[in-house]
């Protein structure tokens, strides 16, 4: 798995699944929370990556 984007998507999906399973009680709530957490992980990573792009490492 050498693609940064695929790594991000897989990591976000697995962590969101665990959080949704632990923090919500019904299937519907879990699905909703999991999708929101997944979107938040991916969006925040892309935004932070874009904002920090001009800075040298």
């Amino acid at each position: 798995m050498h693609s940064h984007l695929v790594t991000l998507l897989v990591f976000s999906a697995l962590v969101s699944t665990v959080f949704a399973t632990l923090l919500r009680d019904t299937t519907r709530e879990r699905l909703r929370f999991g999708l929101l957490a997944f979107a938040a992980f991916v969006a925040s990573t892309l935004v932070i990556g874009w904002l920090t792009n001009p800075f040298p490492i």
Partner: protein, 135 residues
């Protein structure tokens, strides 16, 4: 407290301890022990996938218990949170990792986060065994 109540309390207490230990030994096993089959299987699959992918991405499974490098100690403890899979991976020879690999840091993140998430799973199993959480 009557004798039957004391016996019941002791049984509940040993059930809680067993659930916590099983949850640490193998991710999701505590929930399966408590009869939460679906939840246990989802947690098991997700955490084992995180840890397994981390190992596949050349993560170092370090055993660093000294205090001279606190961050390395915390990293080790995080990875150990996953339980038996950590021991198994080390026994199979994956402990060194490959620092020159382009995905080495991703692998480290996957294994450490897998262990940390399993600590949350252990706490949830303990709460479930004590009746604090319902489903």
């Amino acid at each position: 407290m009557s004798e039957s109540r004391a016996a019941s309390a002791a049984r509940d207490s040993s059930r809680t301890v067993a659930a916590g230990l099983l949850a640490w030994v193998w991710p999701g096993l505590g929930h399966l022990f408590l009869g939460r089959r679906g939840k246990g299987l989802v947690l098991m699959g997700s955490i084992l996938a995180l840890f397994g992918l981390g190992v596949a991405m050349d993560s170092r499974l370090q055993l660093h218990l000294g205090l001279e490098d606190p961050l390395a100690l915390l990293f080790s403890l995080a990875q150990m949170g996953v339980g038996a899979p950590y021991v198994l991976a080390r026994l199979l020879g994956y402990e060194a990792g490959l620092v020159t690999s382009p995905v080495y840091e991703y692998g480290n993140t996957f294994t450490a986060v897998g262990g940390l998430l399993n600590i949350l799973v252990i706490l949830d199993a303990l709460d479930t065994a004590r009746g604090v959480r319902g489903k």
